[in-house]
Symmetry: D2
Subunit: 336 residues, 4 copies
């Protein structure tokens, strides 16, 4: 990083994730019927989904493929000119960059820039996206977890300080961290929109996708989602929770889709939009950091995550973690 960095694109928010699933019908059951996503677009091999509060074409795209993976995550940028900034920014970092014109990439999305970022993740930046009919008050169409909108990406990366530095250079603020006694960084939550995060980093072998965070309005929606899986004897899709996070103070439930993609149903964090919003730092030995009620984290939650693809659709190689939060024994938690 010796050359002066190029100006960063002005990122508005985490906008959508495109996942590779191996059976689109099964995935549709999970995402649309159970989580309550609305199907905005459907064609052979692909489904575009959005939550009830979302006014753009999609926030989750399911593409059928041979092996489950993250195809890419995508950030919306403020202006078309930010695409050029994104292109220069990642060129300067000597990372793979590709222009994807409208019609050649994901349905509904205009011109885009796709990169493999310094953490090894496939990331798209776009400004234009098709509008979608307002469903905010269509309570009659709500189902399942009544997902309102995509809230955040959580990614596994072996080098948390590097991830933190990269997203700082993209203009992200940091709402919360988990740190060791010497302030070594175990995890961080970073934002552009005025919530706790658009992206968070879980220490572990990476690049891998840990989960997508999906916002719902109230805690009873989260409970209902779990009840639905129990009703159908599909409770094995429930991995962890429900619980209250220490970090973010959100009420959560972790699910695994039929391909093992992890989803968090998430509600009720706080406003971070003020200038000078201060980072809140959790010590890794506080057993409330991951669950405010002290419930132990499930081992699979620390260990398992989805592979990510490069710009040609090939799996990215994975590097082991430098620091392992799950090896820190804290209260009920820690798996070491």
């Amino acid at each position: 990083m010796t050359p002066a960095p190029a100006p960063a694109p002005d990122v508005v928010r985490s906008a959508y994730a495109q996942l590779v699933v191996t059976d689109l019908a099964k995935a549709r059951w999970f995402w649309a019927d159970m989580l309550g996503f609305h199907v905005q677009y459907e064609a052979p091999g692909i489904i575009c989904l959005r939550g009830s509060d979302e006014l753009t074409h999609h926030s989750v795209v399911l593409r059928e493929g041979e092996a489950a993976a993250l195809d890419h995550i995508a950030y919306r940028v403020r202006t078309p000119a930010d695409l050029d900034r994104a292109e220069r920014f990642f060129h300067r970092l000597d990372r793979p960059v590709r222009r994807v014109p409208r019609g050649e990439g994901t349905p509904g999305v205009g011109d885009a820039v796709r990169v493999v970022d310094p953490l090894g993740f496939p990331v798209e930046f776009f400004h234009d996206i098709d509008r979608a009919e307002r469903l905010i008050q269509r309570y009659d169409l709500r189902r399942g977890a009544e997902v309102a909108r995509l809230d955040h990406f959580n990614i596994c990366t072996p080098d948390i300080p590097a991830a933190y530095a990269h997203y700082r250079s993209l203009g992200f603020g940091c709402s919360e961290t988990i740190e060791g006694d010497e302030h070594e960084l175990y995890a961080a939550w970073m934002y552009r929109k005025q919530t706790v995060h658009d992206v968070a980093f879980t220490g572990g072998a990476g690049p891998r996708l840990h989960h997508l965070g999906l916002a719902t309005h109230e805690s009873h929606h989260v409970l209902r989602c779990a009840d639905l899986f129990g009703s159908l004897r599909k409770e094995h899709h429930i991995e962890r929770g429900p619980g209250r996070h220490g970090v973010s103070n959100a009420f959560y439930l972790y699910l695994r889709d039929p391909d093992g993609h992890r989803v968090e149903i998430y509600t009720s964090d706080y406003y971070t939009g003020d200038p000078g919003h201060e980072t809140y730092r959790w010590n890794v030995h506080d057993d409330r950091r991951r669950d405010f009620w002290g419930n132990a984290v499930i081992e699979s939650w620390y260990r398992e995550a989805a592979p990510v693809l490069d710009l040609d659709g090939e799996p990215q190689p994975v590097t082991d973690a430098l620091l392992d939060e799950s090896s820190v024994r804290v209260g009920a938690d820690g798996l070491g």
Copy 2:
């Protein structure tokens, strides 16, 4: 009432109401799609419905007819022998009584006794009723207001002390009343099962059916029901509420079905099963009695109610009220 009263049948609970509706398809939309009742039985001209927690054949029956009315309300009794007791009890009162053998009355119900009670209401007593598949944990089948079970009947009658005395003679307890300064009775809530009521009396021209009270589990289910009507621009079905009752402490919403039958979505009252449970008395001037938050009662709520039929299906004549609660001006409430 000079002869010694006959022993009363042992009433278990308010069990079902049979309503005459003028358009079964419209009624089905309201009761099944919007309120979330499960259709247990359907034949030309009739639908039997039950809530998610109900293990018997139905708690609401919709019968198609020329004019909207209450066909009858029904109480379940503890043993088959209680049917004989019911027969003698109402004979002794010189009221119309009719035996209805299984198969000749309402689908799913065994032998029954139907009477016109001293208040002029068509009332059935039965013991046997078909079992229904347990749906308590079928969250996947829940819809709309997610009605769990019938909770109570509310009936309009001009002479509240007479209604009170009649139901006392049937062994009902009294959980709450609304009374004037001289303890004149404006309304009473009476129970057999261990909740606030199975039947309540609203002062007014009668006999007429004021509403059916339907229990749901939590307050957010009540709110959802109102949201659904708004979504579909059917908000005119919402008559009053949501609100918290002073009487019963339940959270409520009043709806009108396509024929004007009134329904209360009701949640969270209290246990009344102890011996010597004491009546709680509200003064008619306490503006929290009808709405604990002091919101005014809607005029139609006091004025409108459904006609009731006699044992031959003819409308019962109506008598005006002796005391009129709505003429008492109290805080925001009262329409006098």
Copy 3:
């Protein structure tokens, strides 16, 4: 049990539990400040507590003593004459029986009969109990978990069929069971009031008290209770949950008080008051039986329970279990 059994007393409901705690101030913090019980009576060495919906003197009594234990559980009976029936019933069973006149037993309670039942538990039967001011609508006095009322006792006993038979002989119905493939009984839920249970049996060394079940009105009250413990860094009092039970369909949270007494915060089960209410049978291999979402039971939940005292206040000896549900490996659950 060769002699013909005496007529059983008519039990109304599980009424209160008297616990021995080793530090009354710490216990007061837990039960009153955190759970939200109202202190009805307080004297050196004793506190009587009740929930917001309770109209009698107490449902939990904390007595200070040397070692944590269950002093006794108590059932309210329908009439004073039921005390005599209770006395004869347990005499006929050749169990220790003692009359406790008003003023010599627990504050607020009238004449009582105390026995050691065939399962080894200290049980009181009483009819008279002091009334308490109605607080049902005193939202201003609610705190913590906003406990509404005692719901049930859960007791550990090594011989579940014997426990089942004993409570059947006392006239209890059975709402649900957990059974093996050959219908061997692992657990049962039994009731007198019209809820899922007044008493339940957990297979294990016994007689020991597994927990007291406390009803609250809505699921958000349960979540709030957990949040409060987290706030104060007292999350180690949370043992298990929150979760949805398969059995009972209630939403639950298990806590441990400063002496290790286990409490369940419990909401939203179903009506069981109809004649012929059918028992619902869970197979021990259904991993939704203990948690409808398939979350594993915590080991301490199966293993730990409180000793119980005899009529002289001495600890009862404990016998090991015949069948051990926790040794059945089912899904995520089972600890064998």
Copy 4:
């Protein structure tokens, strides 16, 4: 307004309101005990309050005075340089402008600029404000309505298009409007932070303060607030609701403080932070616009509002409205 407008200050959000109350002790009861605001600062004649999620010194300031009024509303700006921009912006509009150095204005606030805006409202702009201890997870300190943060100001102004134009010139977006058949503007909701609004305009005599909108996390917090007022027989503080707004989709309750200042408890609107967020337009004849369930608006809600002061603390004169939404008869609503 012929001269080219000066660049607008970069407004971050609606930050606080300073109210004049006539009895500070009574006001403290309402705002702190009942609404659950935390008292951050208290001195003779003044109290500074903040919600549980707020990390700055206050969002509501109560100053004791002779007559109830709005002293000023305040917006936080992004940088100290935005104060100069604010000063020039309102000078160019020929409006009263005053610099208020730290220590001479409201406690906890740094240098500020106060103006009387073109609508006649006293408005402060500031950047620096003291930090406050994080209470987000102090559930043990929550009370009453558990107010999380100030959400918005709602102001009465006779000329809605002028108000709209002024706030557009300050860089505010518009999320929703109420419009007549010819698109004449009856009301508008405008934002800087990523919610439905920071400020909204109610047509009526003005300048007057209609209400302060206070965010809470879930709908049950709103219901609890109403229950608390009922408990204490203070239900006359409840003016309207609870209900669901058509505009914003938020769940609401309107209260009046002891001086008649109106407060809205408000939960659950939607994200508006995307570029090109489109305005949603309600027709004034849609009776769901003010209440999604079609409940009528209370007359006082349309008619009553608080006077506002000028920079010297004198009441501003009031002008009557040009268009009167309450004169449009729509469904249950409209008072004409």
